[in-house]
C-alpha cells in the first residue's frame, strides 16, 4: 500500500471512532446533558473529520462537515442554548456524515443532503443578531473574527489542521523564501484588533499562548485556539515565530508558533480558562493582568508587524539571512514563561540576532526546551500498532509460558541441593512470565466502547423502520477486553439488539395499552465478573411468548409432544438452530431470528449466552466471554494416559468420587447427589475414548452453558495453570468435546475440554457411525 493510501486508511479508521464519539455526545446532549464538554467533544469530532477529509480531498464531506461544524459552533459559543438545539437534526446529520465517510471510503459518489444542509444553516439564525457582526476586514492585517469564520459557508481551504499542514508543506517546498508561512492561511503575523476596543469596559489582560509542538497533531490549530476568544474583546494578537527552526530541521507537523493576545474583556480569568479547555492544556497558556497604561504601550504592535511582514520581500534571495532573522534570541525564546516580561518586549524581537550565531542556536533550540520534556511526562502518549505484531508478541509469550512449565518439569528430577536453587530461579521466572503475559494482554485490551459506539445508530435507524420509540442506555463502555474479542462482538451484539427491538419491544401504542411508557428502553451493559466479561442486553418489552415458542418447537420436532419443559427451558429454545432459521418464527413466536447464529458465534469465542425472560416485563440476554482468546486459566486433569484441560471458569467444585453417592438410573445413566440436586455423572475417559486404565478418583462439578451442573469423573487432577490456547481448526478441524488444544510442559498436546460439546458427544454415544465417514470421503 502506498503511504498516502495507508494514511487515508488510518483516517477512515479514526473517522469511525470520531463518528462514534460524535454520536455519543450528541445523544447525551439530546438526553439533557448540559455539560459544555459534550458540546466541545462533538465539535472536536466533526472538526477532526473535516480536517482529515480536507487533506484527502473528500470535498463533499468537507462541505457538509463544515456546515455541521459551524452550527455546532453556535452551541459552543453559546449563541444557541443547548436546550434549544435541534439534536434530532444533529443526529441525522451525524448519520449523513457517516454515509459520506462510507462513500468516500468506497470511492462511491456521495449522496447530497441539501435538506439537512439547509436545516443546519438555519441553526442559530434567529439569535444571530446578538452575535457580533463580521468585522469588515482591514486587509491585509486582520484575522476573520471567529464568529465570521464560523458562519462563513464557503468551504475553507485551509481551515482544517491537516489541510493546513499539507498547505504548509506545499508552501515550504514551493516557496521556501516565504519565511512567515505559519500555516495560518498566510495571514500576516501580527494582527491588531479588528476594531479598536479602547472604549470598551473590562479589564486588560495579556494572554501568552505557548502551545506544545504537537498542536497540529492534536488536530488543533491556532485559529481554533484564538477563535475561542470573544472577537470583540481582542485588542491585539502577536505571533512569535522566533522559535521556528530552520527549514532543514523543520518538521512541518510541529507547531512553533507562540502567541500573545491582548484583551480587554469582562470575562473572568476562569472563564478564559474555560475557553481553552478543549484546545489547550493548562500549561500552554498563561493569563496576566495588565495595568491599563501598558495596554496603550502594547497597542502599537505595528512595528514588529511591519518588520515581520516585510521579511518576505526583503530577503527573498538569501535563505540564510532569513534563517538568521527567524532565529531565536536564545534567552527570550527558550524561557518566555519564566520571565513574565513587563508588558513591553514584543515577542518577535530577534530580528537583529547575529547572522553567524543564529543557525547553531536554531538547531539546538527546538530540542532543548524544558517544556518538551514535561510535555512528555504529562501526556499519555499512544502508538498505533498493527495487531499482527502484538499477536506475535502474544504467541511468543505463550511459548515462554510453555517453556517455563517445561523447565519446572525438568527441575523436579534434579538432586535436592541443585534443585533448591534452580527452583527459586524458576519461581521468579514464572512470576515474571506471568507479569509479562499480563502486560501483553493489557496491550491488546481495549474498551468495548469501540463496538458499543456503533449501537446508537443501529437503534435509531431500526426505531425509525419499526416505528418504535426506543431509548438506548449504554453502561460500562470502558470495560476492557481483548481486541480480537471486541472485533467478534459486533455481530452478536447487533443481532441481540435487533432482536430486542424487533421482537421484544412493543409499538408505542401497545406499550401505552400495557401501562408502560411509550418509549421502550434497551440497556447494553458491560462489566467484568470473575475473570470474564459479561455483556447484557436488557429490554423492557413483552418478553418471550413461551406458548408460541414451545408450540413451534414441538411442530419442528425439537421437543417431544409429551415432553414437559420448565419455563426457563422453553426460553432457551430461542437458541435452537432449527427454530430460528424459519421465517415464520419471527412472525409467531416473537423471538428467535438468528439467535442460534449468535450462540454459535459466542461459543466459538469460548463464551456462553443465556436468556432470562419475564412475560410482559422484558427480556435479558447475557453474554459471558473470556477476556482473551489467547490464554486461559485451566485445570489439568488426567484420565488413563491422556491429559485434558478444563477451563477453570467452568469448574464449580472438585471432590473425591468415593465420598459422593452415585446412583444408576434406568438405561444406565449415572447421577450424583450433590447439594440436594441430582447431577448427571460422566466418566471422561469413557466419553473421550481415553486409552490406558482408568481409575476415577475425582469428580469435577462443572457448569454448562445453560447453567446446569454436571459431574465429570477423572483419574487425577494434575494441577492448575495458565495455558496457551491453540487452535485445532487451523490445521485439522473441529474436535468433538474439545474447544481447542494447548501444549503442556513436556511439549505434548492436551485438549481443552468444552463441557457442552463433551456432553453432546456423550449423548451421541461418541463414535461417529462408519457410514458417516464414507460420506465425508
Amino acid at each position: 500500500m502506498d503511504p498516502l493510501a495507508e494514511l487515508k486508511q488510518t483516517f477512515f479508521q479514526e473517522c469511525e471512532e470520531l463518528l462514534g464519539a460524535l454520536e455519543l455526545k450528541l445523544q447525551a446532549l439530546d438526553e439533557g446533558s448540559s455539560d459544555p464538554e459534550d458540546v466541545n467533544a462533538a465539535f472536536r469530532a466533526i472538526h477532526s473529520i473535516k480536517g482529515g477529509a480536507g487533506a484527502f480531498g473528500c470535498t463533499e464531506l468537507v462541505g457538509f462537515a463544515h456546515v455541521f461544524e459551524a452550527s455546532l459552533d453556535h452551541l459552543r459559543s453559546g449563541r444557541v442554548a443547548i436546550e434549544d438545539a435541534p439534536f434530532t437534526l444533529f443526529l441525522r446529520c451525524s448519520d449523513a456524515v457517516a454515509d459520506l465517510v462510507a462513500a468516500a471510503r468506497n470511492d462511491e459518489p456521495a449522496t447530497e443532503r441539501p435538506d439537512l444542509l439547509a436545516a443546519l444553516e438555519q441553526v442559530g439564525k434567529e439569535p444571530v443578531a446578538q452575535a457580533p457582526a463580521p468585522v469588515p476586514e482591514p486587509a491585509p492585517v486582520a484575522i476573520p473574527a471567529p464568529a465570521a469564520a464560523a458562519t462563513h459557508n464557503d468551504a475553507p481551504p485551509g481551515i482544517a489542521a491537516l489541510g493546513n499542514l499539507l498547505a504548509m508543506v506545499e508552501a515550504k517546498t514551493a516557496a521556501p523564501v516565504q519565511p512567515v508561512d505559519d500555516g495560518w492561511d498566510d495571514e500576516p503575523v501580527v494582527v491588531p484588533a479588528p476594531a479598536p476596543a479602547a472604549e470598551k469596559p473590562g479589564r486588560d489582560l495579556r494572554l501568552r499562548i505557548t502551545p506544545e509542538n504537537d498542536l497540529f497533531r492534536r488536530v488543533i490549530e491556532p485559529r481554533v485556539v484564538l477563535g475561542s476568544l470573544p472577537a470583540d474583546d481582542v485588542v491585539a494578537i502577536r505571533c512569535d515565530l522566533s522559535q521556528v527552526p530552520s527549514l532543514e530541521t523543520l518538521d512541518v507537523t510541529d507547531c512553533w508558533m507562540r502567541f500573545e493576545v491582548d484583551l480587554r474583556t469582562e470575562l473572568s480569568v476562569e472563564e478564559l480558562h474555560g475557553r481553552f479547555d478543549f484546545s489547550l492544556a493548562n500549561e500552554e497558556f498563561e493569563i496576566e493582568t495588565l495595568e491599563s497604561a501598558s495596554v496603550a504601550e502594547a497597542a502599537p504592535p505595528a512595528e514588529p508587524a511591519a518588520e515581520a511582514s516585510e521579511v518576505p520581500s526583503s530577503v527573498a534571495a538569501d535563505l540564510s539571512a532569513i534563517l538568521a532573522k527567524l532565529g531565536p534570541a536564545p534567552e527570550a525564546a527558550s524561557q518566555p514563561e519564566v520571565a513574565p516580561a513587563p508588558a513591553l518586549p514584543p515577542v518577535a524581537p530577534a530580528v537583529v540576532a547575529p547572522v553567524a550565531e543564529a543557525p547553531a542556536a536554531i538547531r539546538t533550540a527546538p530540542r532543548s526546551p524544558a517544556n518538551d520534556q514535561s510535555a512528555r511526562q504529562r501526556q499519555a502518549v499512544s502508538v498505533r500498532v498493527d495487531l499482527d505484531r502484538i499477536d506475535k508478541l502474544m504467541n511468543l509469550v505463550g511459548e515462554i509460558v510453555i517453556t517455563q512449565s517445561m523447565l519446572v518439569e525438568c527441575v523436579r528430577s534434579l538432586p535436592y541441593d541443585v534443585y533448591a536453587k534452580t527452583a527459586e530461579g524458576i519461581l521468579t521466572l514464572s512470576r515474571q512470565t506471568r507479569e509479562l503475559q499480563d502486560h501483553v494482554m493489557a496491550v491488546r485490551a481495549q474498551p468495548v466502547k469501540a463496538v458499543f459506539q456503533r449501537m446508537p445508530r443501529l437503534v435509531r435507524e431500526l426505531a425509525q423502520t419499526l416505528g418504535k420509540e426506543v431509548r438506548l442506555v449504554l453502561e460500562g463502555e470502558n470495560t476492557e477486553v481483548d481486541k480480537t474479542i471486541i472485533e467478534e462482538l459486533a455481530d452478536p451484539l447487533t443481532h441481540m439488539i435487533r432482536n430486542s427491538m424487533d421482537h421484544g419491544l412493543e409499538t408505542p401504542d401497545e406499550r401505552t395499552d400495557a401501562g408502560k411508557p411509550r418509549e421502550g428502553t434497551i440497556k447494553l451493559i458491560a462489566e467484568h465478573r470473575a475473570g470474564r466479561i459479561v455483556i447484557s442486553v436488557t429490554d423492557d418489552g413483552r418478553g418471550i411468548n413461551r406458548d408460541r415458542l414451545l408450540a413451534k418447537a414441538r411442530s419442528r420436532g425439537l421437543v417431544g409432544a409429551d415432553e414437559k419443559l420448565a419455563p426457563e427451558e422453553i426460553d432457551q429454545l430461542i437458541f435452537a438452530a432449527g427454530l430460528s432459521t424459519a421465517e415464520q418464527v419471527s412472525d409467531i413466536s416473537g423471538r428467535g431470528v438468528g439467535m442460534d447464529v449468535v450462540r454459535r458465534n459466542v461459543e466459538s469465542l469460548g463464551g456462553r449466552i443465556s436468556v432470562d425472560s419475564e412475560p410482559g416485563r422484558g427480556c435479558k440476554f447475557t453474554l459471558a466471554l473470556p477476556l482473551t482468546l489467547a490464554v486461559l486459566e485451566g485445570m489439568v486433569i488426567r484420565c488413563g494416559d491422556d491429559r485434558y484441560v478444563i477451563p477453570i471458569a467452568s469448574v464449580i467444585e472438585t471432590q473425591h468420587l468415593a465420598s459422593t453417592p452415585i446412583e444408576r438410573l434406568p438405561f444406565g445413566q449415572e447421577v450424583l447427589r450433590w447439594r440436594g440436586e441430582v447431577t448427571p455423572l460422566y466418566r471422561l475417559g469413557e466419553v473421550m475414548g481415553s486409552t490406558g486404565t482408568t481409575n476415577e478418583n475425582i469428580v469435577i462439578i462443572a457448569e454448562t452453558e445453560r447453567g446446569n451442573n454436571v459431574g465429570i469423573a477423572v483419574d487425577e487432577i494434575v494441577g492448575q495453570q495458565q495455558v496457551v490456547v491453540k487452535s485445532l481448526e487451523a490445521n485439522y478441524g473441529t474436535v468433538n468435546g474439545a474447544s481447542a488444544a494447548t501444549i503442556l510442559g513436556d511439549g505434548l498436546v492436551a485438549l481443552i475440554l468444552d463441557i457442552d460439546s463433551m456432553l453432546r458427544l456423550a449423548a451421541s454415544g461418541g463414535r461417529p457411525p462408519v457410514s458417516d465417514l464414507k460420506m465425508a470421503g
Binding site: 490445521n731 485439522y732 478441524g733 468433538n736 511439549g747 498436546v749 465417514l773
Partner: protein, 170 residues
C-alpha cells in the same frame, strides 16, 4: 525447513533433463513406495508421541506440537488399508503443507528425491479399492512402482471433514 534432506539425488534418466519435470520425495510404507511433490514437504522429523483425538477416523494418529503449532498426524499405513503402524523411534513423520493446512504423514522411512518428467507420470488405474482417490498417479522408477499421493484426499478422509460433518449433524 529445519532438517535438510540428506539423500542422494537420483535422476530419472541420464538424458538431458526435461523442462517439465516434477521433483518427488519418495518414502516407504512396508514394501510399497509412495511419492509426493517436494514442494509440499516442509520438513521431515522422527516419530514423536501424539495426543489422540476422541473418536477420530482410524488413520488419525492424533495431534502433536510442532514448535507451537498443533498439527494432526495421519498414519499412511492405515489410510491405505494395511493396518496400524507400530510407531517407533525409527519411524518418520513427513510434515506437509496441504491446501492451507499443515499435517504430518506417518511413514516407515523416507527413501529419495527424484526428478520425474511429467510425461512419465501415468494416471492411476481406476482402482476400485481406492475409494477415497488417494492415488493420484503412478511412476515407474527402476523396478519400483511409485504411487503418487493426493495428499488432500489422505487428509480429508483423515477426519477433519468427517469430524466436521458429524459435529454439524450433532
Amino acid at each position: 525447513m529445519t532438517m535438510t534432506l540428506q539423500l542422494g539425488e537420483k535422476h530419472f534418466s541420464s538424458a538431458q533433463p526435461e523442462a517439465a519435470a516434477r521433483r518427488i520425495v519418495t518414502f516407504k510404507v512396508g514394501d510399497r513406495t509412495f511419492g509426493i511433490d517436494v514442494g509440499m514437504v516442509r520438513e521431515i522429523k522422527g516419530w514423536q508421541a501424539t495426543t489422540p483425538l476422541p473418536h477420530a477416523a482410524p488413520h488419525v494418529r492424533g495431534v502433536l506440537n510442532l514448535r507451537g503449532v498443533i498439527l494432526a498426524v495421519y498414519d499412511l499405513r492405515t489410510a491405505i488399508g494395511m493396518g496400524v503402524t507400530d510407531a517407533s523411534a525409527t519411524h518418520v513423520i513427513v510434515v506437509v503443507d496441504v491446501e492451507d493446512k499443515t499435517a504430518g504423514l506417518l511413514v516407515d522411512s523416507v527413501s529419495d528425491i527424484v526428478d520425474v518428467p511429467v510425461s512419465a507420470v501415468r494416471p492411476a488405474p481406476d482402482l476400485e479399492r481406492d475409494e477415497h482417490g488417494l492415488i493420484e498417479g503412478l511412476v515407474l522408477l527402476d523396478s519400483d512402482i511409485v504411487a503418487l499421493l493426493d495428499l488432500a484426499a489422505v487428509i480429508r478422509d483423515g477426519g477433519g471433514e468427517a469430524q466436521l460433518k458429524t459435529s454439524r449433524a450433532a
